[in-house]
């Protein structure tokens, strides 16, 4: 069973994405900030992280850097708003493998996660 970590400072998003991927056979963890994300990543070693690029406190890029330092094999997909797309250049340099733009199409969310787990 694939382990997925969902990081977003909006609880509604964490809850919804958790249910969404649980229904699709994933083991899902959620974190509502960068620090929490790092500690769960350390403990649970997820296969893939869905990481919101813009969060209060430690932002997505900083969390990305820490998780990648912890374990380079953890795949990280950034979740961005349209206005933050320019940050992806930095995110790719730090080791992100893909990104999804909010508001997203649920099909794409599923496909993007599956594609990156295979690849």
């Amino acid at each position: 069973m694939h382990k997925l970590l969902v990081v977003d400072d909006e609880n509604d998003i964490c809850d919804f994405v958790k249910t969404f991927f649980k229904d699709r056979g994933f083991h899902v963890f959620t974190a509502s900030n960068g620090e929490e994300a790092i500690s769960i990543a350390k403990k649970e070693r997820p296969d893939l992280v869905l990481l919101d690029i813009k969060m209060k406190g430690m932002d997505g890029l900083a969390a990305l850097k820490h998780i990648k330092e912890l374990d380079r094999s953890i795949k990280i997909i950034m979740v961005t708003a349209l206005a933050d797309q320019d940050k992806m250049h930095e995110a790719y340099k730090l080791g992100a493998c893909d990104y999804i733009t909010k508001p997203l199409i649920l099909d794409y969310l599923e496909q993007t996660v599956l594609k990156n787990l295979k690849g």
Partner: protein, 454 residues
């Protein structure tokens, strides 16, 4: 989250809905023609009479149209459904032109099922959207609602599988989209032929299916919401158009003023003796006009300030038609040459004449050399028959002419020129304008051409 117990009776639901419409969320106008309509007691018994049900809906829809912001209405619809119908979750997606897709704008529901606001969108080619845009779609029941149960029935139908594989694939695609959203019902919001949005409903917590009456209620809610949204969009578009027109007007007006200034500068440049003349005359005119504030003749003049400014800028535009040798003649003009110069006010008016919007300006330019006693040119008008702005320009023009050097005479000092204006008040000049000029002069608002003559 409210406690989801058992489904309420129809009467209770409608009563609650009316209450929400009536409360202070901004739903109902205080000027409502008949606010008591909602307070009419409903007949006893669990099920409403058909007639009352309809009148309730009519009243509700009239109220909805008065919602100032469609988002309030959407929020209220979502809240009503969540509180009263006991569904796992519900959401509304609206079409957003700038994103070219349907965006989730409000939702409610149990943890993990509530779809986060702003998180999800459906593209226009999504089967869940296109199913509503296709006419006579097989999947849609006569209520207009897309029902998950109908899709499942269709997929179980062997005839469809064997004889209509395209239809079968489409059913599968729709099922998949409904599964993604965990939707049991999708209710379209149409305005005319346009699909403005869809209302998504999850399962009832009780596991029961939605009945006919409930579905009818959803359709009515959706249609009324569509009306409110369409109205709000129309108003928004209209306001945007008004802003655009305003901007355009301001820009064109600015271009026009600058064109007039450029033209005035061109005239000034040709006549070396009157350098800066137009600018000074325009400034004097504006200072005089300030002192005339409140005079009825000014108040009744349409676009007074603007016409004054443009007329002052262009009062000598007719000098374009005067031969160079006369304009730059170093010495006194012969009577013939003077007659030629006098034509400039007519030429100016003729130049401006084809510009319909400047008909007032053309008139003022034509008469700026008239005298108050009727001895001026070109038409020998007298008194208030001379247009107001022409009378103002006459004073400003004379003052500048006197306080600048000419080939045939030295300039006067400002004080001397003022004396001259006073002396000719009532003969050459309108006494009202001269007094306004004197007021402005005393306040230091008339700054004559530099370097006083000594």
């Amino acid at each position: 989250m409210s406690s989801h117990k058992k489904a309420p009776s129809w009467r209770k639901l409608q009563g609650w809905f009316v209450e929400k419409l009536m409360d202070h969320q901004g739903g109902i106008s205080p000027l409502s023609p008949n606010p008591n309509l909602f307070n009419t007691p409903l007949p006893d018994g669990g099920v409403l009479q058909k007639q009352d049900y309809q009148s309730f809906l009519e009243a509700a829809s009239r109220t909805m149209i008065r919602f100032k912001k469609p988002e309030h209405l959407i929020k209220m619809i979502v809240k009503t459904i969540d509180d009263q119908l006991k569904v796992m979750h519900t959401a509304v997606l609206l079409y957003k032109e700038e994103k070219k897709s349907y965006i989730l704008i409000d939702s409610k529901g149990t943890t993990g099922l509530k779809i986060p606001v702003g998180f999800v969108r459906l593209s226009v080619d999504n089967p869940l959207i296109s199913v509503f845009s296709e006419k006579n779609s097989f999947f849609i029941s006569e209520t207009g609602i897309l029902n998950y149960d109908d899709i499942i029935c269709g997929l179980r139908n062997r005839n469809i599988l064997e004889l209509q594989p395209d239809l079968y694939d489409n059913l599968l695609a729709i099922k998949k989209q409904m599964d993604l959203l965990k939707a049991v019902l999708c209710v379209p919001c149409y305005f005319k032929r346009d699909l403005l949005g869809i209302l998504v409903l999850g399962e009832k917590i009780s596991g029961e299916t939605f009945n006919r009456e409930e579905m009818g209620f959803f359709v009515t809610l959706a249609n009324d919401a569509a009306m409110a949204i369409a109205n709000a969009q129309l108003i928004e578009n209209l306001q945007q158009k008004i802003e655009e027109v305003k901007d355009l007007y301001v820009r064109e007006h600015r271009i026009f003023i600058h064109t007039s200034i450029a033209l005035a500068a061109a005239i000034d440049a040709r006549d070396q003796y009157t350098h800066g003349h137009t600018e000074r005359v325009t400034n004097y005119c504006i200072s005089i006009a300030k002192e005339l504030d409140g005079v009825p003749e000014v108040a009744n003049y349409k676009n007074f300030r603007e016409t004054l400014q443009i007329s002052a800028l262009l009062h000598d535009v007719g000098k374009i038609g005067i031969p160079d040798y006369i304009l730059s003649k170093n010495g006194k003009l012969t009577p013939e040459e003077y007659e030629e110069i006098k034509k400039h006010s007519i030429i100016g008016a003729t130049i401006l004449c084809p510009i319909k919007e400047l008909s007032d300006v053309a008139k003022e330019v034509r008469h700026h050399q008239e005298c108050f006693d009727g001895s001026g040119y070109p038409d020998g008008l007298a008194g208030n028959n001379i247009p107001l702005i022409a009378r103002i320009i006459a004073v400003a023009d004379a003052f500048d002419a006197m306080t600048t050097n000419r080939p045939y005479r030295k300039k006067k000092t400002a004080q001397e020129a003022v004396q001259e204006l006073k002396a000719k008040s009532g003969t050459q000049f309108d006494p009202v304008i001269v007094s306004a000029f004197l007021l402005a002069y005393e306040k230091g608002n008339i700054l004559a051409a530099r370097s006083p003559a000594r």
